[in-house]
Symmetry: C2
Subunit: 333 residues, 2 copies
């Protein structure tokens, strides 16, 4: 029986995850059944939302189990196929286990073409990251040319794409990030109109007001917490807030408290809406098509932070919460 290296959830993290929350083990590779493929992992996506799955609370997706492998977005090469749609040598994208080698059902996988875009792009700009940015901004944000879009976590995987799509759609785009280098990158690489470093600002609400002199029409919220509180003082009448993520509170052990939003929403007839990318699953092909077109027209660019080696997956995940990534964080095997 062949075996493969595997990363399991060792225990549910309390607060900030630690390396000891992960367990390296060896697991068996099962026999290939009909409709299955044997896969070799090439790229592993690590994402803030995985923190939520490490909790034992019901959410939009079921929690990871202790002692079982973690899963995330993965690009893999087909080593053997027992399915008519996939052949040896094909590359696929799917939600797969943190294993070097694994057997999976072919019908949950999407074939990707390494000649149309780099393999890693299918986990980022053409994958969940790009689709999250695209559908959040267009479906909930309902942008109108000339409006001001504010993005938090702006140098992150999703945020940097949101800003670029905002520019394509004719918005004035302002980004908030956590280092001066990232803020510089927002303007030089991603075409943001304005940005500031939330870690060195003295008064968050005033910094937003200064960067958004006409107020905030659309707020794409990746972070929650203090920044999102300060945005409330700057929202315009009929503004829309897209609740995409809340990385600033993912590691909290108690339910975070903030300024109550109700009175702000009433005063400004303002909307807040959460979403996950699965909500728009019927429209995913349309989204991929649009993103691929923009990418090929050089209207979109993306940044990746690529770590190397299977054994570095947990550390790459932990580094997300320290803001050590620029753009999409991936691990290459």
């Amino acid at each position: 029986m062949k075996t493969t290296k595997t990363i399991n959830l060792n225990n549910r993290p309390t607060g900030k995850p630690k390396l000891t929350d992960f367990e390296f083990s060896t697991s068996e590779i099962t026999e290939l059944q009909k409709g299955e493929v044997l896969l070799s992992t090439k790229y592993v996506s690590v994402d803030p939302y995985l923190r939520g799955r490490m909790r034992d609370t019901p959410s939009y997706i079921k929690p990871f189990e202790i002692g079982k492998p973690i899963e995330s977005g993965i690009i893999a090469e087909v080593l053997e196929s027992n399915d008519s749609n996939l052949s040896k040598g094909d590359y696929v994208s799917g939600t797969l286990l943190w294993k070097e080698t694994q057997v999976a059902k072919a019908d949950g996988l999407m074939k990707v073409d390494p000649n149309k875009a780099p393999l890693s792009a299918y986990l980022g700009i053409l994958g969940m990251t790009g689709l999250t940015a695209y559908f959040g901004l267009t479906e909930i944000g309902k942008p109108k040319k000339g409006e001001t879009l504010l993005v938090s976590g702006a140098a992150g995987a999703v945020g940097s794409v949101v800003g670029q799509i905002g520019k394509i759609l004719g918005l004035r785009v302002v980004g908030i990030a956590g280092t001066d280098e990232k803020v510089k990158m927002l303007k030089s690489e991603f075409g943001f109109d304005e940005g500031f470093n939330y870690k060195t600002t003295e008064n968050m609400s005033e910094s937003i007001a200064k960067a958004c002199p006409d107020g905030v029409d659309i707020y794409f919220d990746n972070v929650g917490g203090e920044i999102s509180e300060a945005v409330l003082f700057n929202i315009n009448k009929f503004s829309r807030t897209i609740n995409c993520g809340a990385i600033s509170v993912y590691n909290n052990t108690e339910l975070p408290k903030s300024i109550s939003v109700q009175s702000f929403l009433i005063k400004k007839s303002s909307l807040m809406q959460g979403f996950v990318i699965f909500d728009y699953v019927d429209k995913h092909p349309e989204g991929v098509k649009q993103l691929t077109a923009w990418l090929n027209e050089d209207k979109l660019t993306y940044t990746e932070t690529i770590r190397e080696g299977f054994e570095n997956i947990p550390q790459a995940f932990l580094d997300l919460f320290e803001g050590k990534n620029k753009g999409k964080m991936l691990v290459k095997l």
Copy 2:
């Protein structure tokens, strides 16, 4: 020069308003100009939202000025007219000053017919109250037959109408109110399916779960604060929260804090949206028509708490914050 009794804002209340925040004075009645009418006040509406106008902060409507009369929804009789559309003896509804007698421009007034409905109804079920319930529920709530609607402040002016419209539209309707008598009334008078008294419940979230076994699809929020926090634990996937009012925090001197809503909204792909009735001003005639039809078909009923006498207007307003009203609170002159 004729004069009239007038109620001014004496100073901006700190926390809960007091009688001394109001000043009774005598003001002159100006000469009737072209396009103006002389009005005798018949009914004065006192509403929680007026508390917001007593603050010196920008909102959807400008703050009251110290030493100047307060204004609210009023039904008045035309004593003299210098306008071609209104005649002596007509009744009108409008946003008017807290004066026994006043001159006003005719074009901001709506003629009301005392033969089609009692005069007071034009301040309530056929006025701002009814329209707030109707547009909030239909435009933001987007109700689908069979869904569960939860209403806070359910025995209040807006809440009791929201519940009834919910029943007309085929929803399961649950109300939260502050006395056992009010809870009883929700079911016996307004047709709610279920209700509970938040003041005597030990665990708000569990009480909501018990009253809404299928979760909450639509939450019509009149109160904010603790109740709205507890609702977050019970919202369904794709639920909608209508932020109509936040009476529980209107008298706070500091910005209220609550459990952060972001993570809840993300997990449930849930929406929260504030509004004021002016947002739907183009659709008001359509709303009044629908409400009048339902009223005439005996599908809607309403409760009023009517106080008597001009001098009792401030106390009636203060009593709103003690929950002393059932349904719409009015003062009859």
